[in-house]
C-alpha cells in the first residue's frame, strides 16, 4: 500500500494530505466516470449483435493496451510482446474451464496469476536490458509464446482450442451478446480505475521518476528493481485479463489471435493514444480496432495507413493524440493570454 498520505512527504503550501488525496481521487475519477457512462450507455442504445461484437473486440484491445501503457508510458520500458500475455490469459482460462471444468472466475484468476509469474520473469529481463534491446527481447518473448502455442499438443496447436463454455458469473450464464459486452465493459472500467489509482499513487510517481531518469530516481530512493518487476507483472496481468475475459466469449481461440502482428497493433494503439495516457490508449484501441474491422481489405489498408500515421506522429507529435491537446494549450496561452510572464515556459508534470 503506497504511503501517499504521510505528512512529511507533503510539500508546504499545498492542500493537507487527506484533502489532497480526495481532490486527486476526484480529479482522476472524472474521465473514468465519463468512460464508464459511455461504455455502459452504449449497451442500452439497442445495438445490433455486430456492433456488440465490435464493442467486445474494442474493449478487449483497450484492456490490453491500458496494461501496455503502464510499462511503456508509465515506466518508459519498451515492451512489444503484449499479445503473448493475452495468449497466456486466454489459453490458461480456456484450459481450466474446458479440461479442468473449472468455473469462469477462478479460472480467470488463475490464468491472470500465471501471466503475473511470467511478467515477473520478463521484469527481471528488463532489469538488464534497455531501450531497443528490451523491445527486441520482449518481442521475442511474445513471438516465443505464440510459437509454443503453435506446437501440436493438448492445446490444439495451430488448429485452435474449442469449444470453450460460455462464462457463468454468480449463476448467470452470459449467452446474450449484450451481457457479454457488459462483462468486457465492466472489466475495462475496473482496469481503468485500478490503473488510474496506481499511476496517481506513489507507485506511479516512482515509475515516472524511473522513466525520466533512472539514476536520479535511484538516488532519490526509488527501488528500481521492485518497480520494474512490478510494472511488468501488472502489465502482463492486465493483458492476461483481456485474453481471459475474451476467450470464453469467442468459444474458440487459436494462436493467430495472439501473433506478433497483434503485439505490434497493441503497441500502435498505445503510441497513437499518447504514451502514458490510459484514456488515450482506450481511444487508440477503439480507433485501430474499428478501422481494421470497417475498412475493407482484411485490415491491410487500415494497418498500412496506421503505420504511416505512426511514422508521421513520431516525426511531428511524439506524444500522440494527447500531444494535440498540449499543442493547442501552448498555442492558446501564446496567442490569447499575452500578459507579463506569459512567455515563461510552463513545465508540465505528466500525470
Amino acid at each position: 500500500m503506497p504511503d501517499t498520505a504521510s505528512p512529511d512527504t507533503a510539500p508546504p503550501g499545498r492542500l493537507p494530505p487527506y484533502r489532497a488525496l480526495t481532490g486527486r481521487a476526484g480529479r482522476h475519477l472524472g474521465p473514468t466516470v465519463v468512460a464508464a457512462v459511455l461504455l455502459i450507455g452504449f449497451a442500452f442504445t439497442n445495438p445490433g449483435a455486430t456492433d456488440l461484437a465490435l464493442g467486445v473486440n474494442i474493449g478487449v484491445a483497450a484492456i490490453a493496451s491500458v496494461g501496455l501503457t503502464m510499462t511503456i508510458g508509465g515506466a518508459g520500458q519498451l515492451a512489444l510482446g503484449q499479445a503473448g500475455f493475452m495468449a497466456v490469459g486466454a489459453y490458461g482460462t480456456a484450459y481450466l474451464m474446458l479440461d479442468r471444468e473449472m468455473a469462469f472466475l477462478p479460472a480467470l484468476v488463475l490464468g491472470v496469476l500465471l501471466a503475473l509469474v511470467i511478467g515477473v520473469l520478463v521484469g527481471y529481463i528488463a532489469l538488464r536490458l534497455r531501450g531497443h534491446y528490451l523491445a527486441m527481447a520482449t518481442l521475442a518473448v511474445g513471438t516465443a509464446i505464440h510459437a509454443f502455442l503453435m506446437l501440436p499438443g493438448p492445446l490444439g496447436g495451430a488448429n485452435g482450442y474449442a469449444p470453450i463454455p460460455f462464462p457463468e458469473i454468480f449463476g448467470h450464464r452470459l449467452l446474450d451478446p449484450r451481457d457479454q459486452y457488459l462483462l468486457v465493459a465492466v472489466t475495462l472500467i475496473l482496469v481503468l480505475l485500478g490503473s488510474r489509482w496506481l499511476l496517481s499513487a506513489r507507485m506511479g510517481r516512482e515509475l515516472a521518476a524511473l522513466r525520466d531518469d533512472e539514476v536520479a530516481a535511484r538516488a532519490a530512493g526509488v527501488n528500481i528493481t521492485a518497480r520494474k518487476v512490478q510494472v511488468f507483472a501488472i502489465s502482463a496481468g492486465i493483458g492476461a485479463l483481456a485474453g481471459g475475459v475474451n476467450a470464453p466469449l469467442q468459444t474458440a481461440i487459436d494462436p493467430s489471435l495472439f501473433s506478433t502482428a497483434v503485439s505490434l497493433q497493441l503497441f500502435v494503439m498505445v503510441i497513437l493514444g499518447g504514451l502514458g495516457n490510459i484514456y488515450g490508449a482506450v481511444l487508440g484501441a477503439a480507433l485501430v480496432t474499428w478501422l481494421i474491422s470497417e475498412v475493407p481489405g482484411g485490415g491491410s489498408w487500415a494497418l498500412t495507413v496506421l503505420g504511416m500515421v505512426v511514422i508521421a506522429f513520431m516525426a511531428l507529435l511524439p506524444d500522440g493524440l494527447a500531444g494535440l491537446g498540449r499543442l493547442a494549450r501552448t498555442a492558446r496561452s501564446r496567442w490569447v493570454r499575452r500578459r507579463p510572464g506569459a512567455g515563461a515556459v510552463i513545465t508540465e508534470v505528466p500525470e
Binding site: 536490458l129 534497455r130 523491445a135 527486441m136 496506421l306
Partner: protein, 289 residues
C-alpha cells in the same frame, strides 16, 4: 549424410541471416537505432524482384542487381522519411517509427502483391554433386554473395576514405563533423547499404521461401539473433554469428522436431542478450544501453 546436407542448407540460411544482420549492424553503429523493419525489407526486395520477373525480365542476375540498386535508393529515402525526423523526440520515437514502417511494408506488400507467397525462379537451377552431397547452384551463389559482401564491407570500412569516415561518424558524430566528415552522408550510406543488402537477400532467398508472405518479423528476429550472437558492434562478429545461427538452427532440426526450433532460437536470443550481450566477438563487457 544427413548432417552434411543440413550443413549446406544451414550455411545458406545463415548467409541470408548474415545479409539481414549486416543491416542491423550498419544502422546500429551509425545511429544507435535497431531497425524492426529490417526483415520486412527482405520481403520488399523479393517482391520488387517478382514484379520485374513478371514484366518479362528473365535474367535473374540482372533482376538481383536492379533490386540491389532500388534497395539502395529506398534506403536513403527510408532514413530521410522514417528515422531522421524522429531525432530529438525521445528514445521511443525512433523505435515506434520503425514499427510503423514495419506495418506499412508488411500490409502494403499484401495490398500490392497479394497476401500469399509467390514462386520465384532461382538465378541458376541445378546442382553440383560432390560424392553424396548435392549443393545447388543457388546455394553456391548465395555463399559467394555473402563472402563478397563481407570482404567488400571489411575493405570499405577498414581501408577506404569513405569507410573510415563512416567509422569515425559512428564513433563520435560531433568530432567527425569537426574534422570535416559529412556525417549525414555517412548515415545515408549506412541506411542505403542496409536496405540494399536486405533487398538483395530477398531476391536470393525467394526461390527457397517464396516471394512475399508474412515472414518479415521472423527474419527480423532471426537476423537480430545472429547479429547479437556474434556481437552487434563488430562487422566480422555479425557475419560469423549469423552464419553460425543458420547452421545451428539447421542441424538442430536433425535432433528435434522442426516446429520446436523457432521457440528455442527465440529463447536463445533472450539468454544471449542477458548472458553475453556483447556476443562472441564483443570487445569488452558492458551493459546494453
Amino acid at each position: 549424410m544427413r548432417i552434411i546436407d543440413l550443413l549446406v542448407s544451414g550455411l545458406t540460411l545463415g548467409a541470408i541471416y548474415a545479409l539481414v544482420a549486416l543491416g542491423f549492424h550498419l544502422v546500429f553503429k551509425m545511429t544507435g537505432v535497431i531497425d524492426f523493419a529490417q526483415g520486412d525489407k527482405v520481403i520488399i526486395g523479393g517482391l520488387i524482384g517478382l514484379t520485374l520477373v513478371n514484366r518479362g525480365l528473365s535474367t535473374i542476375l540482372l533482376v538481383a542487381l536492379i533490386v540491389l540498386a532500388a534497395g539502395i535508393v529506398l534506403g536513403i529515402a527510408y532514413d530521410a522519411i522514417v528515422i531522421l525526423p524522429t531525432r530529438g523526440n525521445g528514445p521511443i520515437a525512433a523505435i515506434a517509427a520503425t514499427v510503423g514502417i514495419t506495418l506499412v511494408f508488411a500490409n502494403g506488400g499484401q495490398i500490392v502483391w497479394g497476401p500469399d507467397g509467390k514462386p520465384f525462379p532461382p538465378v541458376h537451377g541445378g546442382a553440383v554433386e560432390l560424392g553424396d552431397v548435392r549443393i545447388g547452384y543457388q546455394d553456391l551463389l548465395i555463399w559467394a554473395v555473402v563472402l563478397a559482401v563481407g570482404i567488400g564491407l571489411a575493405t570499405l570500412l577498414g581501408r577506404s576514405r569513405t569507410g573510415r569516415g563512416m567509422v569515425a561518424a559512428a564513433t563520435d558524430p560531433l568530432a567527425a563533423t569537426a574534422v570535416g566528415i559529412n556525417v549525414s552522408r555517412m548515415r545515408a550510406i549506412a541506411f542505403a547499404l542496409a536496405f540494399g543488402l536486405a533487398a538483395l537477400a530477398g531476391v536470393l532467398v525467394a526461390p527457397i521461401t517464396l516471394a512475399g508472405g508474412t515472414l518479415g518479423t521472423a527474419l527480423t528476429l532471426k537476423g537480430f539473433t545472429g547479429a547479437v550472437l556474434g556481437g552487434l558492434a563488430s562487422t566480422r562478429g555479425v557475419l560469423v554469428g549469423a552464419v553460425l545461427l543458420g547452421v545451428l538452427e539447421s542441424e538442430l532440426a536433425a535432433v528435434i522436431p522442426n516446429s520446436y526450433v523457432d521457440p528455442i532460437v527465440l529463447l536463445a536470443l533472450i539468454v544471449i542478450l542477458l548472458v553475453m550481450p556483447n556476443g562472441l566477438f564483443g570487445l569488452r563487457r558492458q551493459r546494453l544501453a
